[in-house]
């Protein structure tokens, strides 16, 4: 074995080690989150933590129920806005537009992904919140405001993955349907959307993950009151805002309770990730 071959072998080992960096980081994050967050959950009882509705850290009362519900509400609201608009854009971009038009719209939508979340939050504060307050009443800082801004923020995720899965369909699907005399819309509705279903579902799940994990924009516009919101005009606090709002000054058990909040968020995200992963794995298998 000459010098070059020996070097090649060393390089292969080094690269293998480097390749495990992402997995190792994921493992370390998981271990740290659970190490910091789970002891306090079991100390005060899992049920009190998840189902308790009182969050008074100074009195050792750590109920996360309002925040769990809050996260679910704003995420659901974001889906109601983001999914139809996202799918509409994806269909227009792949089926109903000419190439020059696409070349203008696509980069613009990609830019949407680059705008920092604090800027979205700020737009919410200076435009959307006053608008909601004056039009519908209430404090303006609300489930509705958070849902709209999050709905806009998840659009790029939904659009780009849906466009990819629509474009990856074999041209024969389109040609076959058109040849049978179907209109373009019938082709989209009856042939293309069902065929691209798993990719579209994956895009929606990933969008959900983004909405539930978003922090800074939500803090700025959701009002952050610790109570289960009674209407879409009521203020709400999400799991992410709970962490970010109190992390600056929390200590001792309070800090651990915030890590416990992180653990719950982490678990939700991992479930969503795995679901998205499985659907896209099925997509690959389906296509052979």
């Amino acid at each position: 074995m000459n010098r070059l071959e020996r070097k090649d072998r060393l390089v292969r080992l080094a690269l293998l080690a480097v390749a495990f960096s992402a997995v190792s980081i994921l493992a370390v994050i998981t271990v740290f989150m659970f190490e910091q967050g789970t002891p306090i959950m079991f100390k005060y009882g899992l049920k009190n933590f998840l189902a308790g509705s009182d969050w008074y850290p100074s009195e050792k009362s750590f109920g996360l129920w309002p925040m769990i519900v809050g996260s679910i509400y704003v995420t659901f609201g974001a889906m109601v806005i983001g999914v139809p608009f996202g799918l509409a854009c994806a269909i227009v971009l792949t089926e109903f537009s000419s190439k020059p038009v696409r070349r203008v719209i696509k980069p613009v939508i990609e830019l949407l992904a680059g705008i920092p979340s604090v800027v979205y939050g700020f737009i919410g504060v200076v435009i959307l919140v006053p608008f909601i307050r004056e039009t519908f009443g209430g404090p303006g800082l609300s489930v509705l405001a958070a849902s709209i801004i999050l709905g806009i923020m998840i659009l790029p995720t939904i659009i780009s993955i849906s466009v990819d899965s629509l474009q990856a369909l074999p041209p024969a699907y389109r040609e076959g349907s058109i040849a049978l005399g179907a209109t373009k819309w019938q082709t989209v509705r009856m042939a293309l959307l069902p065929a691209a279903r798993s990719g579209i579902i994956a895009s929606i799940i990933l969008g959900m993950g983004r909405a539930i994990g978003e922090t800074m924009a939500v803090i700025m516009i959701a009002g952050n009151a610790v109570s289960v919101p009674g209407s879409i005009l009521a203020p709400v606090r999400t799991l992410t805002s709970n962490i970010a709002l109190e992390m600056g000054y929390a200590a001792g058990e309070h800090r651990q309770a915030l890590f416990a909040t992180g653990v719950i968020l982490f678990l939700i995200i991992m479930v969503l990730n795995t679901m998205a992963n499985l659907t896209s794995a099925r997509r690959k298998r389906d296509r052979g």
């Binding site: 495990f20 190792s24 830019l111 700020f122």
Partner: protein, 278 residues
């Protein structure tokens, strides 16, 4: 009753187009709104003077420097790891259980919200390892966050280098590593750069992961262990605590321009890369 399919198509088409136009209009509105309100506050002084009185006066110079240093550190750490992973996945192995684990890890890491990275960075780098609120803690945390993006884009870039390039290199007696470093990587550079620039954009705009790891000190950083405030964090504090609305708009305008520049650069590089290999 059934619709005439052609009428239905016309109605649907109008509806879908209206929704698309509305989406694009919202984006264009956001960008123009911030620029119109913010650009009047931006001047040479604003960019080159340090903030005074918690940001009530002065400019944003130290936060610009903070952003640049933190982003540069994150890129320096994440690029070798990400490109190395991509080289391993594309050149040194085939699809098997190991690559599935690596890919699954990267995909999960990509989905983790930035606030979790912030918590993790805070507990590991700031407290356990004793780096304190510092550029080092913030840079490491950001590096972990952008790693999946760099892996994915580098992998795509390396995969799109035509196999013939490798065959020729091998037939000339090149080893695997020589082929990778002298033939494959140079051809994949524009694609890899695209991923790096995308990550720069993400780092510039990130707030949640940075505020708990790099802190929010307003003075100029002097070492890796200085706490430093980025533009995004500065903007967040100005806006949320109502310190100065005009300076908040100004900072937001600078942020948006930076992000626009990043996007345009990405777009340009990507087109160049695609044209080269198709």
């Amino acid at each position: 009753m059934r619709f005439d399919p052609r009428l239905e198509q016309r109605i649907v088409k109008v509806l879908l187009w209206a929704m698309t136009v509305l989406t694009v209009a919202v984006l264009v509105f956001i960008v123009f709104f911030i620029l119109r309100k913010g650009l009047p506050a931006v001047s040479l002084d604003f960019l080159t003077k340090n903030p005074v009185d918690m940001g009530k006066g002065g400019g944003i110079f130290s936060t610009v420097i903070g952003t640049i240093v933190l982003t540069a550190l994150a890129i320096l750490i994440a690029t070798p790891l990400g490109v190395g992973t991509a080289i391993y996945l594309t050149e040194y192995t085939w699809e098997n259980a190991v690559t599935r684990v690596i890919r699954f890890g990267a995909e999960c890491l990509a989905g983790i919200p930035s606030i979790i990275f912030g918590l993790f960075g805070f507990i590991l780098f700031v407290t356990k390892l004793g780096f304190g609120w510092s550029i080092l803690s913030g840079g490491l945390t950001l590096a972990f966050m952008i790693l999946p993006t760099i892996i994915r884009t580098s992998e795509e870039a390396i995969r799109s280098v035509p196999p013939a390039y490798r065959t020729v290199s091998f037939s000339l007696g090149g080893t695997k590593w020589q082929t990778v470093t002298r033939v494959v990587l140079p051809s994949a550079v524009p694609g890899i750069m695209t991923g790096i620039i995308l990550s720069v954009g993400r780092s510039i705009g990130e707030t949640a992961a940075v505020i708990f790891t790099a802190g929010s000190a307003l003075r100029l950083p002097t070492s890796l262990f200085s706490s430093s405030r980025t533009m995004s964090v500065h903007f967040y504090i100005l806006a949320r605590e109502g310190i100065s609305l005009s300076r908040a708009y100004g900072t937001a305008a600078v942020l948006i321009i930076a992000i626009l520049a990043v996007n345009i650069a990405t777009y340009y590089l990507m087109n160049k890369f695609i044209r080269k290999y198709s």
